[in-house]
Symmetry: C2
Subunit: 134 residues, 2 copies
């Protein structure tokens, strides 16, 4: 690629804009108030690793839903044992949405419905916390 000086300036300007956009995204919100949807699953058969693996595989399919801005799948971390820490769940799913409306669309999405059909036999109890950024 050969660029004249104007071409270089345009390229540098474009790259600069991309960096600024990237930083806004890295900040997690870019000034917008997003919402966090955090779901904790308690397994029907705690300790059965095959079930945990199946649930994690099911949660991975949710990445196909376009409204999800961020998805983290987790298991209890090995932090200090404190009375306030609840580490009794099997798997957690943390999602970020731009709006409450996007979260509703996610609930209704066929991929989500298929996940619930396929995996709901694996868990005994689910607790959901929906929070909006202040």
């Amino acid at each position: 690629m050969v660029l004249n000086r104007r071409g270089w300036i345009a390229t540098v300007a474009a790259l600069g804009s991309a960096i600024i956009a990237g930083r806004a995204k890295a900040a997690g919100r870019g000034g917008r108030k997003q919402m966090v949807h955090h779901v904790f699953f308690w397994m029907k058969t705690p300790g059965r690793q095959a079930d945990v693996d199946k649930l994690i595989a099911g949660l991975e399919t949710l990445r196909g839903i376009p409204e999800i801005r961020e998805l983290r799948i987790g298991v209890p971390a090995n932090t200090e044992n404190r009375s306030v820490v609840d580490g009794s769940y099997g798997v957690s799913e943390l999602m970020v949405f731009d709006t409450v409306e996007d979260q509703r669309r996610y609930q209704d999405h066929p991929i989500h419905k298929r996940f619930v059909e396929t995996c709901s036999g694996l868990w005994e109890r689910v607790v959901v916390y929906d929070s909006i950024d202040v």
Copy 2:
């Protein structure tokens, strides 16, 4: 600033690297398994907005702790009323750390200790979920 062609190439290369680094950060993990520390506070006097504001102001001070990679402060979102959704808490605090060890350092940090001293009278109950990315 006047740059010769070599100077422009170096600038573009540096900007390109910055974008790649920014993208890795935006992805939330950059391939590493981070941990999520999610704390839910139930207020001693639910519905007293001044207390919620004080707690949020206290949580904002935690941004000064260097180990915290991401911090979101939230209140219950106005999502659909489902039996699995627990919207009874007052305020939530969601943090991302690179390691379990960083979370321990955060617990011991003077800013965190000062926050607990200043604000612990505001809440009745705390539940913490620590998850590590799978």
